[in-house]
């Protein structure tokens, strides 16, 4: 069976780099991997998804609904939008910081991120709610959340790659000037992920 990871967020949040790193790590681990990205008009502030599929029996470039093992959501509303992709016992990591669409300020439809998170809590068994702003504060920019959340998933054992493989993938994939800070982001995320899973098991 294939292992499917769906990343979702809003155009500009850095989901593409995260999915590329996951795919590269899978390949470096000797696994068969395919992925697909949202590119084009939707990138301008629209919802974006990256589908990463690991395994020999994955033919469709997109993950069929109900078969994602892990969803990494960069925004609470986007987590809910993509929840139909999650497997029954799948895990979900969600950034609790909402991005308000510009239309929401013009014509409020009552988008309430708290309601989204509450719903996720009721619907998902393995749910990690993380605050990207707080976690990324020591790094100086929320832009590093994409790499940090990969660290979180690795630390929590939600992706089965060797930590070293991901670290060397980061080294090979990002601009030299940003290697150190991204590694730092990854390791900080990994530590958070470890804490999360310990608490989860303790419960």
């Amino acid at each position: 069976m294939s292992y499917n990871i769906l990343l979702c967020g809003v155009g500009g949040q850095g989901t593409v780099l995260a999915s590329k790193l996951l795919a590269a790590a899978a390949q470096a681990s000797g696994l068969s991997v395919h992925s697909a990205e949202t590119i084009g008009m939707a990138q301008r502030g629209g919802p974006v998804t990256s589908h990463v599929r690991i395994g020999d029996d994955a033919y469709s470039p997109l993950i069929p609904k109900g078969t994602a093992d892990l969803i990494i959501a960069f925004e609470p509303g986007e987590a809910v939008r993509n929840l139909p992709y999650l497997k029954q016992d799948g895990a979900l990591i969600v950034n609790s910081v909402a991005l308000m669409p510009v239309t929401e300020s013009l014509h409020p439809s009552g988008y309430d991120p708290g309601k989204m998170l509450n719903y996720l809590k009721s619907a998902v068994k393995t749910l990690a709610v993380v605050d990207a702003n707080a976690l990324c504060a020591p790094l100086g920019s929320v832009k590093f959340f994409n790499v940090m959340v990969l660290g979180f998933a690795t630390g929590a054992g939600m992706v089965k790659f060797d930590r070293e493989v991901l670290l060397s993938t980061i080294e090979a994939s990002v601009k030299p000037a940003f290697v150190e800070i991204n590694k730092k982001a990854f390791l900080a995320g990994a530590a958070e992920g470890e804490t999360f899973i310990k608490e989860q098991r303790g419960l």
């Binding site: 990138q43 469709s60 609904k65 509303g77 929840l83 510009v102 989204m116």
Partner: protein, 601 residues
């Protein structure tokens, strides 16, 4: 050989390089744009001529010329570009080629980033030329090389149609990283062959119709046309392109149903299909866009008096419009096979917010639109739009795009509107790349026929929507050369537009004054709103809302910038998005928005 994890479009480019391509040309269009970019990136020795042509028709004709000299040529576009190139392609189909010509026309089911849901397979049938339909990234790499071989074998241009989900999918491929362009034999003049005349067309038409069934026979043993499943199964699923991938995802290695893949929809591999469908009773066709395979099978069924039940779009088993998904295909196939399907009823979910695409925070187009809107307050005016990022100017609160049809249409449609009501001021908004692609002829048409029109060129010095490609106005080309940039202002003046005002749209008072000046003049006027795309220029300034904010929301209601939201009783600016364009500050009635670092801009 080198192994790399690549996008479908990159695989197509690397495959073309492996095929020894000599000339590569095209026009940007989602989902095809990365092909030419990849060729340019791998063209370190400049052994391949690679270019963004001014439009798809120019590219098609350039490829024909190169082919007549024996060169292999690749032309890339999205499927609507094929409409533009079709004049050249249709005739080239009659004349034929010397060096292989492969035309990539990327289809966009959904549509996700397009105006139509047209189907290139049908276009191939219309042109009477072969078409290849890859179902995966890996296949695309190999198939594009085959396309060149078939093009030369049968002296015909060949279409190659990936869809968005193949173009923008990623997979690991092993490619030939040492390939060299093939030697070009050179142009051997032969006017009896290369000059199209009615007599030549009549002769060649006959030849083409005789040849196509032969290509169909040839395709019947093509590796891309495959059959899986036991010969005693009475049911068959027929699919091509990415729909095959969806079908395979569901069927996997099951043998109780035949899974038939058609990689060469035209000319139809008839004997392959007749053989693969021998003894079958029920056929389900899984495909996107036009019911192409379905109708071909209906034709085959009648021609050979088969007793097939053919299910698909014509029988309501598959939707006629829109993209299909893996789970939709699974549902179709599952019910066709009588499988027990576990469909979960979706629980009550809170509704996530709509996120329509919007102009980026700080986009200079917003300022250009806003200036025109302010200047025309209280006057009757029409705003014809065009294809590009600036189509997003239609979104509220700007609401400044009344029409959008196809590339370059804004300028000519504004003339049509003008002749129905000369008292209304007509504006046409066009981007810099679109102006070169198909805007210039419209301006000439307006001057010649004496229309009143204000052409607003939203010049951000790039082709932004498709991923920032250069164009004739940017001064760089895909060979990596710095070249003379064509000045839009000079082009307009050269054609006879006497009023051409270039203004920075972020300088609102100057921009509004320019619009007002033009609105009162007769004839063709042009305003060039010149300011670089914010995705390419590093913003240094930030806007902040101070205590003076009275919470009137005017900045939100008027400007609609994604960086400005409302929290508590005040406007809030997201500094990670803000570029300090200061448009919001210019509309604030109480000067509560201050822009820092503005001087450094």
């Amino acid at each position: 050989m080198k192994k790399e994890y690549v996008m479908g479009n990159q695989a197509i480019a690397l495959g073309a390089i492996a095929a020894g391509v000599n000339v590569v040309c095209g026009y940007p269009g989602t989902p095809s744009s990365e092909i030419i970019e990849t060729i340019a990136k791998h063209n370190r020795e400049k052994a391949i001529h690679v270019e963004w042509s001014i439009n798809e028709k120019a590219a098609m004709e350039l490829a024909a010329g190169a082919s007549y000299a024996g060169a292999r040529a690749l032309v890339t576009m999205k499927m609507m570009g094929l409409n533009v190139a079709s004049d050249a392609l249709m005739s080239l189909a009659y004349v034929g080629v010397e060096g292989g010509v492969v035309v990539v026309s990327a289809d966009d089911p959904g549509p996700i980033s397009s105006q139509t849901e047209q189907d290139t397979r049908l276009f191939a049938k219309y042109c009477r030329i072969p078409v290849f339909d890859p179902s995966s990234v890996e296949e695309a790499y190999t198939m594009i090389q085959d396309a060149f071989a078939y093009s030369e074998k049968y002296h015909t241009p060949v279409l190659f149609r990936p869809t968005t989900r193949v173009d923008h999918a990623y997979a690991g491929i092993t490619y030939d990283d040492r390939a060299q362009p093939k030697a070009i034999p050179g142009f051997v003049k032969d006017s009896g062959r290369f000059v199209i005349f009615p007599r030549l067309s009549r002769m060649n038409h006959e030849m083409i119709e005789k040849r196509n069934p032969q290509i169909g026979e040839d395709f019947s043993s093509y590796w891309g046309n495959t059959l899986q499943g036991r010969k005693d199964s009475r049911k068959a699923v027929v699919a091509g392109g990415v729909s095959y991938a969806y079908a395979k995802e569901y069927i996997q290695d099951r043998e109780d149903v035949r899974l038939i893949r058609v990689a060469t929809p035209h000319p139809l591999p008839e004997s392959f299909l007749l053989n693969a469908l021998e003894g079958v009773e029920d056929i389900l066709v899984v495909e996107e866009l036009f019911p192409y395979l379905e109708e071909e099978l209906l034709m085959l069924c009648g021609k050979h008096h088969k007793n097939w039940n053919i299910y698909g779009k014509h029988t309501g088993h598959s939707p006629l419009a829109g993209e299909i998904t893996a789970e939709q295909a699974a549902l179709q196939i599952g019910s066709f096979l009588g499988d027990t399907l576990t469909q979960e009823a979706p629980g009550a979910m809170p509704q996530p917010p709509a996120r329509p695409p919007v102009l980026c925070a700080g986009c200079p187009h917003r300022a250009g639109f806003y200036a025109v809107k302010q200047a025309m307050k209280g006057r009757k005016a029409n705003f014809s739009g065009d294809i590009g990022c600036y189509t997003l100017g239609n979104a509220k609160p700007l609401d400044m795009v009344d029409t959008c049809l196809c590339m370059g249409a804004g300028i000519t449609m504004a003339q049509g509107l003008h002749w129905t009501d000369p008292e209304t001021v007509n504006f046409a908004f066009v981007g810099d790349s679109t102006f070169f692609a198909s805007g210039m002829t419209g301006v000439a048409n307006a001057i010649y026929n004496e229309a009143d029109l204000i052409v607003c060129i939203l010049d951000n010095s790039t082709t932004a929507m498709t991923g920032h490609q250069p164009h004739p106005g940017t001064g760089v080309n895909m060979m990596g050369d710095v070249v003379g940039a064509i000045s839009i202002e000079n082009v307009l003046r050269g054609m006879g537009v006497t009023t051409v005002i270039t203004v920075d749209p972020l300088d609102q008072s100057a921009a509004i004054a320019a619009v007002k000046e033009c609105a009162d003049m007769r004839g063709v006027k042009a305003i060039i709103f010149k300011s670089p795309c914010i995705a390419l220029s590093k913003p240094v300034a930030k806007a902040r809302v101070n205590e003076a904010c009275i919470g009137c929301k005017k900045c939100i209601r008027e400007v609609g910038c994604p960086a400005v939201t409302f929290a508590g009783n005040r406007a809030v600016i997201d500094e990670s998005l803000c570029t300090g364009c200061s448009l919001c500050a210019s509309v604030c009635p109480v000067k509560a928005i201050q822009v820092s670092g503005k001087e450094a801009r």
